[in-house]
Symmetry: C2
Subunit: 132 residues, 2 copies
């Protein structure tokens, strides 16, 4: 357990066995990530998506409450998605449920990390967790 | 230990006791995050920064190898920084060292998460780690 004053929730989502065509479609991927932000009741400030050639999409949605991001590997049927929200008003787990429904997948692994500032008596610390 | 084929490294950095004025300066914050990407030898695709009023800066740098992000709370002298890189060419720990040097701070905590796709025999899994 880290010694932090928690301010936010960060969900790191690994999705496998996704449909390659979906993961390679910039429009569908961006719509899904933007809608995830809407589902969470986040305030969208900006978004940017990039289509790689021959394959893959990267994108971020900056929200007033932090950000969402996605990086896809269609050739591996894999997507790495982040949902990082601060405050009590937005609902990161609603966004997570939407993502799991929207991106058809065989399996997933999700890690939740509390974000916040180390307490005054905390020591500097580097921790390797969830290495895989 | 998660059952994943590791493709990338994600560093989640909590910095406390930073200089409030620096954290509230969009230009300085954006320069620092962009330079961190350069130090890592990443290929920058796009960046976006937003200044909150009365205080705080959020920003992302999308790189060909994933992304960097920052959210600052000058009133708490706190910044949450992410460095997510894929592949063997870029050097996330060089970016981390640059960040720790550039952002004066009293203390920090960093978590490293391996990113990648769950193995074929992996079960769906939700894990709460590094909660704080």
């Amino acid at each position: 357990m880290r010694q932090i004053h928690r301010l936010g929730t960060h969900l790191l989502i690994e999705l496998a066995g996704c449909e390659a065509e979906f993961l390679n479609n910039e429009e569908q991927v961006s719509e899904a990530l933007l809608q995830a932000a809407v589902e969470a009741k986040a305030t969208i400030l900006s978004s940017y998506f990039h289509k790689f050639h021959p394959q893959g999409v990267s994108g971020v949605v900056v929200i007033a409450e932090s950000h969402l991001s996605i990086h896809t590997w269609p050739e591996l049927e894999y997507a790495a998605i982040d949902i990082f929200t601060c405050g009590d008003r937005v609902m990161p787990f609603v966004a997570l449920r939407y993502i799991l429904k929207k991106f058809e997948h065989d399996r997933y692994q999700t890690v939740e990390i509390g974000r916040g500032y180390p307490k005054a008596n905390a020591t500097n610390k580097f921790e390797l967790v969830a290495s895989g």
